[in-house]
Each structure stands twice: as structure tokens, then as C-alpha cells.
């Protein structure tokens, strides 16, 4: 209303340059936005990043492969499984390793669990960003807590898992783990219904998100945006379907696409649907995993007294979780390669140049948040300052993932 008055009354306004951040509570880390404002409206925006730069690439080049695996979960702390997976996948591609089927299924299960937990945290914090301080954020955290407990049981850690290793996964699930996960997958769709009942058609939420921050097809593709932010614009580009890796080609799931023009609400809807699809994927994996649950496998191994021979139908082949036990002397063949996985935020890639030594010669991370954040200035221009967090939050950027 006031800006309308200014426009019509012929009053002259000056531009104002302000800093948003670096310690802004809604920036999910440390991001500084240098804003040029015209009254309430953004005229220009320059993100200043690098506050969380930990030289992950340099550290990788100065640590052995085995040491570095423990470190990379910290690149994106909400989806550590995916950073581990990208590294393992690129290294396996250079080395030509072929994984046992059980290891691949275990990877898909924990990765999809991680996708759900990452989206749940996004959902809770995004609602806080929009000002929903009435306690809704605790609902997604209730389900996330169950997933973190499952992660703790299988990997020993709640966030920095170091579970997916080069050549397989770290360890077999403890007794009862599969049953608990199965129970979670059965009750999870009802919980998503609960969130949707509160949020999806909420008039305040609709007012804040409908038609705000439109990220169209062309703009997204120009900036290399990936993940749900791209799919909300209607581009069907999901690495799990597009270039199926691991066992995704044997699983039946849909890639949710945005129905509108790619506004903030579409991005929200896309992520909610993705959670449901991830849940379906886990269900299918639990039914299909070779060897069944860990109790069933243990029972089978009792028959051959855990002989560990390659040709044993109970121990060898596809029932293993690791190609070969890895130790600190792990080396990767000389060569170079790039490989990527579809993380909750988009395409997470790792480019490795190896010379066959005990450390890699060069690491380069292609982080989805890095490319997704670069589109922010183009999205913000013309929006009022109150929409900045609505738009920034909807891109689901994790700042340690940007700065690594």
C-alpha cells in the first residue's frame, strides 16, 4: 500500500544498500547477501559466499582415500550418504569395481532414507522461515528422529555416517533394523498426509508462496539448476530415471514434476511428493533385497558356518556388502573420471584425477547447492524484502555444501 502511494505521489526515493547476514537466522548456515533496495523492493543482489570454506578439495588431496571418506560427509551435513556415494561411485568407476547386489540395495535404502530426512528438515525449517512459529516444525522432526535413530543403529552416527565406502557399505544392519524400517515405511504416508493437511492448502502459506519466485525452465537450465527446483519447473531430469545407476532401473517409482510455472509452491509440492516416492522405493527395496533381512541372512549363514567362500550360496556373490574389505592402504588405479548421484538438492558430482598413489591428485566437487544458489540474484530482483527468505528457503540450499 505504502509503495503504491510513493509511486503515484511523485516522491523521489533513494536506493539503499544493506547487508543481509552473514549471521541471519534464516540462511541455514552463513550467507551474506549484499542487497540494493529501492524502498521495499530488491533491485540488485550479490551473494557473498565462502564463510564456511573448509578446503575440502585440498584436504582430499592431502589425505589418503581411506581417511578422506570419513571427512566428506561434512560437505553436506544433511545428506551425508550422498556425498559418500558420489565419491565411492567416481572411485569405483575409475577402478572398474563391480558391487554385489546386496550392497547396491543397502546403498539405495540408506540413501532414500537420507533423502526423506533431508526433505523433512527442509519442510520444518522452511515453515519457520515463513513465520510459522506455532509448533508445526516439530511434526517433521518427529519422523526425522526415527530415521536418525535407524541411522545411528546402522552406522553409529546420526548425521556424519561414513557408511557408504569405496567398494560397498560399511557393515550389515543390526538385528531388528529391517523390521523397524518396515514399520516406519508403513506409517510414514499417513504422517505426510498430516503435514499436507496443515500446510498445502493453508491460506497464509498459499499467499506467501503462490506466484512468488518463479524459476522457469529456461532460467533454470541456463544456470545449471538441478534437483527438485528444476523438476518443479517441469523439466523431467532425475538422474535416477535419466541415467539409472545402482539398482534404480529395477525399481518402480515416479519422478514428481511441478504442475505450474515453477513457483515456490511448486517446489514445496515437488519435495513432498518426492518423500512419498522415496518411501515407496524403500518398501520395494526391503522386499527385493537379496538375502532378505539381516536375521534371515544370519540364519542362512549358520548352515555353512559363515565359511566366507566366494562360491558359497550363503556367503559369497550377491549376498556380500563389500567387494573386498578395505583398509588404510586403499589405492585407486591411475585415471580420471566424473560421476554423479541425484542428491536431495540435485546433481552431486565428483571429478577425480588419480595417479595411482595413496592420495588423489585432484578432487573437484560439483555441488548442487553451489549451482542452485547462483540463480538467486536473478530470482530476487523485483521482489519485496519479505519474500527473500521465502524464495531462498525454497531452493533448499545448504551453505556448507556451497562453500565446502
Amino acid at each position: 500500500m505504502s509503495t503504491e502511494l510513493l509511486k503515484t505521489s511523485g516522491l523521489k526515493t533513494d536506493e539503499m544498500i544493506i547487508n543481509m547476514g552473514p549471521q541471519h537466522p534464516a540462511t541455514h548456515g552463513v550467507l551474506r547477501l549484499l542487497l540494493t533496495l529501492d524502498g521495499e523492493f530488491v533491485k540488485h543482489c550479490e551473494p557473498v559466499i565462502g564463510h564456511l570454506h573448509r578446503a575440502q578439495e585440498w584436504q582430499g588431496q592431502n589425505r589418503t582415500w581411506f581417511q578422506y571418506q570419513a571427512l566428506i560427509d561434512r560437505v553436506d551435513y544433511l545428506s551425508g550418504m550422498f556425498t559418500s556415494w558420489a565419491l565411492a561411485k567416481a572411485a569405483e568407476r575409475i577402478d572398474g569395481l563391480k558391487l554385489p547386489l546386496r550392497a547396491e540395495y543397502m546403498r539405495v535404502i540408506v540413501a532414500e532414507m537420507n533423502r526423506i530426512s533431508s526433505h523433512l528438515l527442509w519442510l520444518g525449517t522452511y515453515l519457520i522461515d515463513l513465520g510459522a512459529m506455532f509448533g508445526f516444525p516439530f511434526y517433521p522432526f518427529r519422523e526425522r528422529e526415527k530415521l536418525l535413530d535407524l541411522f545411528e543403529a546402522i552406522a553409529g552416527q546420526r548425521m556424519m555416517f561414513n557408511y557408504i565406502r569405496i567398494g560397498g557399505v560399511q557393515r550389515e544392519a543390526p538385528p531388528g533394523w529391517f523390521a523397524k524400517l518396515k514399520q516406519f515405511t508403513q506409517e510414514f504416508p499417513d504422517r505426510v498426509d498430516e503435514y499436507e493437511a496443515i500446510v498445502t492448502k493453508n491460506p497464509i502459506f498459499l499467499k506467501r508462496t503462490k506466484g512468488v519466485g518463479i524459476l522457469g525452465k529456461e532460467l533454470a537450465m541456463e544456470y545449471g539448476v538441478t534437483g527438485p527446483s528444476l523438476r518443479a519447473a517441469g523439466v523431467n531430469f532425475d538422474l535416477r530415471k535419466f541415467k539409472p545407476y545402482s539398482v534404480y532401473d529395477q525399481l518402480d517409482f515416479e519422478v514428481p514434476l511441478g504442475e505450474g510455472e515453477g513457483d515456490t509452491w511448486d517446489r514445496y509440492m515437488c519435495r513432498v511428493k518426492e518423500m512419498r516416492q522415496s518411501n515407496e522405493i524403500i518398501k520395494q527395496c526391503l522386499a527385493k533385497i537379496p538375502g532378505g533381512t539381516s536375521e534371515e541372512l544370519r540364519e542362512r549363514r549358520r548352515q555353512c558356518n559363515s565359511c566366507g567362500k566366494d562360491d558359497c550360496p550363503n556367503c559369497g556373490g550377491d549376498l556380500r556388502i563389500m567387494v573386498k574389505k578395505q583398509n588404510a592402504g586403499l589405492r585407486i588405479k591411475a585415471g580420471e573420471g566424473f560421476d554423479a548421484v541425484e542428491s536431495p538438492r540435485g546433481i552431486l558430482g565428483c571429478y577425480i584425477v588419480s595417479t595411482g598413489g595413496d592420495t588423489a591428485y585432484r578432487f573437484k566437487w560439483r555441488n548442487p547447492s553451489f549451482s542452485n544458489l547462483s540463480v538467486l540474484p536473478a530470482l530476487l530482483v523485483g521482489h519485496p524484502i519479505a519474500d527473500i527468505m521465502a524464495i531462498f528457503g525454497s531452493l533448499d540450499v545448504i551453505l556448507p555444501d556451497v562453500d565446502r
Binding site: G50, F242, E336, G357, T359, Y361
Partner: protein, 179 residues
């Protein structure tokens, strides 16, 4: 940690041009095929042909390599490599482009120079800034080439092989030091 040997020169064997090498040759852009990077076609381009080649590969309906995944910099044994990973949003093809600047061509105190593709492809903007910051490759024609991950007054380029930290942060006992 050990000092590693840099990856040496690629073998001097002439390889048959692949799908994209042939496509570029048809449009009068010379390229040289390098040994594949984990099964993905890899070509070497001269810097002066880069812009033309990237525009062709991106816009032609036969290739449609319209997804720039990453721009990386590698300091090899005697060259600085700028590496471009191109994918497509609509088909499965992949291509790796390398622009190599021999170290002997870089005068002392100067940075190796590679033409920028950021003016016509926004996805390259931040990736080129990052490579400039960490590896020290100057992208000529970049609209806003300044450090992105390190502070603006940082000295040196941390992923260079000859890089040493300005101050030994762990053993710095000087009371005047801000660390």
C-alpha cells in the same frame, strides 16, 4: 601424506575422432581426441576455438549438450588444464572438453589465460570464479572475475602444487598475528 607425481603428458598416439570430434570437424573446428575419461569422450580444444565450439555443441539439435555440469581446473605436469563437463538435459550424451595451457607459455608472475564462456552461459559464472580462486586460471572476458570461496585479499591459489600457506597457522606464536 606424500608428494605425488603429477599426471604426465598423454600418449602421443593419434586417436580417431569420436562422435563430437567429428561433429566439430564438420563445422570447421579442429579438436584433438584424448584418451577417454572413464569411458566418456574427451577432446582437447585450443582456447581460441572454445567459444565457437561450446556454442555449437550447446545449440545444435544433433548434439544438444545444454547442461554444463562443472568447470574444473587441474594443474598437470607441464600444463594447466581447464576441464568442462558437458551433459544434456534431453539425451544421454556426455563430453569432456579440455583446454590446456602449457606452463612454458605462462610468464613468471602471470596466470595462465583461458577464454571465458560465462558471458553467454551463466552456469559457468561461479564455476570459473571458483577455478580462478583455487587453481589460478584467469578466464579472459569473465564479467566479474574475483575470488569466491577465499577472502578477497587471499594470497596465492591453494590448489596449486607449489602453494604454501602464508602463515603457518598451527605454529604461529606471534602475538601480533590475527590468527
Amino acid at each position: 601424506m606424500s608428494e605425488q607425481q603429477a599426471p604426465g603428458k598423454p600418449a602421443e598416439v593419434e586417436l580417431e575422432p569420436g562422435q563430437f570430434g567429428q561433429f566439430l570437424a564438420e563445422h570447421g573446428i579442429p579438436s584433438r581426441r584424448l584418451s577417454d575419461s572413464s569411458g566418456v569422450e574427451t577432446i582437447e580444444l585450443e582456447g581460441k576455438h572454445l567459444e565457437q565450439a561450446v556454442k555449437r555443441l550447446r545449440n545444435s539439435p544433433e548434439t544438444k549438450l545444454d547442461f554444463l555440469v562443472a568447470v574444473s581446473g587441474v594443474e598437470a605436469a607441464d600444463t594447466f588444464d581447464s576441464v568442462y563437463h558437458l551433459w544434456s538435459y534431453s539425451n544421454q550424451s556426455e563430453l569432456v572438453i579440455k583446454v590446456r595451457v602449457p606452463k612454458s607459455d605462462v610468464p613468471a608472475g602471470h596466470l595462465p589465460m583461458v577464454p571465458s564462456i560465462a558471458p553467454f552461459w551463466k552456469a559457468a559464472d561461479w564455476h570459473e570464479r571458483e577455478t580462478y580462486d583455487l587453481v589460478g586460471i584467469r578466464y579472459v572476458g569473465h564479467p566479474y572475475l574475483r575470488r569466491i570461496l577465499n577472502p578477497w585479499d587471499w594470497e596465492g591459489h591453494p590448489l596449486r602444487r607449489d602453494y604454501r600457506q602464508p602463515v603457518d597457522a598451527l605454529n604461529d606464536k606471534s602475538p601480533g598475528s590475527f590468527r
